[in-house]
Symmetry: C2
Subunit: 337 residues, 2 copies
Amino acid sequence: MLTQRKEYILSIIIAEYIHTGLPVSSDTVARKGLGVSSATIRNDMNELEEFGYLSQPHTSAGRIPSDKGYRHYIGSLMGDARLSLADQFMIRHQFHQVRREVEQWTHLAAAILSSMVHNVAIVTLPKPYEPRLKHVELVSLQEFLALLILILKEARLKQHVLTLENATTQEELSTIAQKINSAFSGLNSSEISTNDMQFSVTEEQIVKSVIQLLQSEEEEPYEDPYIDGLRHILNQPEFSSNNKLAAVIELFEQKRLLKSLLPQVLTEDGVQVFIGGENEQDIMRDFSVIISKYGIPGEVSGAIGVIGPTRIQYNRAIPTVYFLSSVMSELLSELYR
Amino acid sequence: MLTQRKEYILSIIIAEYIHTGLPVSSDTVARKGLGVSSATIRNDMNELEEFGYLSQPHTSAGRIPSDKGYRHYIGSLMGDARLSLADQFMIRHQFHQVRREVEQWTHLAAAILSSMVHNVAIVTLPKPYEPRLKHVELVSLQEFLALLILILKEARLKQHVLTLENATTQEELSTIAQKINSAFSGLNSSEISTNDMQFSVTEEQIVKSVIQLLQSEEEEPYEDPYIDGLRHILNQPEFSSNNKLAAVIELFEQKRLLKSLLPQVLTEDGVQVFIGGENEQDIMRDFSVIISKYGIPGEVSGAIGVIGPTRIQYNRAIPTVYFLSSVMSELLSELYR
DNA sequence: ATTAGCACTCTCAGCCTAAGAGTGCTAATG
DNA sequence: CATTAGCACTCTTAGGCTGAGAGTGCTAAT
């Protein structure tokens, strides 16, 4: 257990370090009006270091928080900050300014998050747990070429260009589409494939494509994430050495990061925080990820989060991610009922 | 006019500088087997500098090519390099491996270009000159909510969620869609808006949305470009100082670059090269852009290009951009007839 | 026209130093 | 016993200096 003063000192150091990025000296803490001298604080800081909450870049520098320090800060010291009502209002306003489309929303959410936290934001499109066919449309492009459009239950589109085995007119395609719609609307891929209807060659081919598209939607666990605010990362002093930078940019471009993170995020509720070395990827040792699931339980879900150096403003990032994930969830349930 | 030897010296210097990124000394050139001494070459280099083809970082360094030097190299010295047949085959093969969809193609083209030239590739989706309605689909989401799907002439989709003024069933929506399709298929926005048909309130509202969507497609001169290979830029030695880097990344993220470049690209044929200071944006002083239009003349067009430091491998970048733009054009005309 | 030779210029890495920041320890204090 | 003033010690950093090296431009000779 830490004494109250040590807790206080720790929180001052973390707040200060998050603000400046520079190691914090005992003098700096003393000037915050604790009523004790810098020597006393030095003793406390020494113990905080022994307990693993702080570390020293070198003997004659101040202290910086360790991963454990941040973790304690988030758990006990930070308090549960809420977004100001002004911010909440501003965000809601922006969402209502935008066309009512899921993709627009995700892009807007990323833009807001990245600009409010001054770091890289990352958002995936919401994905249904079990894709079901709502409607099929077939459009003739050429004699042997047709565009197959799948509308899924949650108003998501999939499209695919088909090379037909037999020449087919638009009328024929429309008839086929009607047949498929009346027979399969509301079903998932396995339900469709266990039908016992009689099909022509062309119909057979199209139904097969429908099933394939639905299956590919099932298998791919989430869409390519959308990323915004890469520029912020360049202003962080911790990345003035640019070989680290290269690794990070590559991480983002190849989206490996999300692949390792999303499985965890999608199974748990609430805002999750991964600090520095708690991340799997070793390139992520110097980063923290603050991320949350959003969506409608049991129906669709996506993830929204922000990534920055470990000294990211947790007390701003956490409530912002929380609020944005709530707003996205609300909007989705309005749209899908 | 330059003597033949001076031309040769210039081309050696440019090739060498593109390869190493280091100023090229008279000694280095002499060792390339010209049969004259370094002193002679120094004299020539001096003149080349006076004519503006070369410049010197400082008195006791070698020479580096100026923008004018690169320009001359591309125009006269480089020869018209073609992509090797092996490369051509490899590229075509990759395109046939991929699903027949325009978006896939653009992503693949960007990936190939960026990895072959080791720089940032940028591709826009092809955009029709005059969007025409091919087909409309209406899907009921809730009583007062419908998804409007526009299929444009070139098999491009646009979607929009409508809040209906009157409660409407799927049957009613389908009837409306049929009415719109038979009346307006093949027309552009202004032709649709000058109709004199009688509409119900709901029909009126939907037709208005269709017109709006078509118009927004007309006005927006091109889609958000797709970017690949950002990571390459970090390995360029000229960006070890990272304040320049920040400006560049920002340029890419906000896509301002394309906004200033595309109008020129889309009006001219063939591969275009913008070297350093020839670019409008001053951040681009240190960059060259090699870019080309692709598409079907008079119907659809997009752009594909690559961006790198002025010492980019022009003799690889130019033929690669050229070949990729041809392949994309071919694929599109196969798809659209 | 070409070239050997050489003085001159500029950069760069390495080394040193002094200033400054911050600590940890010791001894004194209420 | 917790606190604190005082101070020696450590480490970083910016600045100045230096010598080596690279490359040039000029001159005089061929």
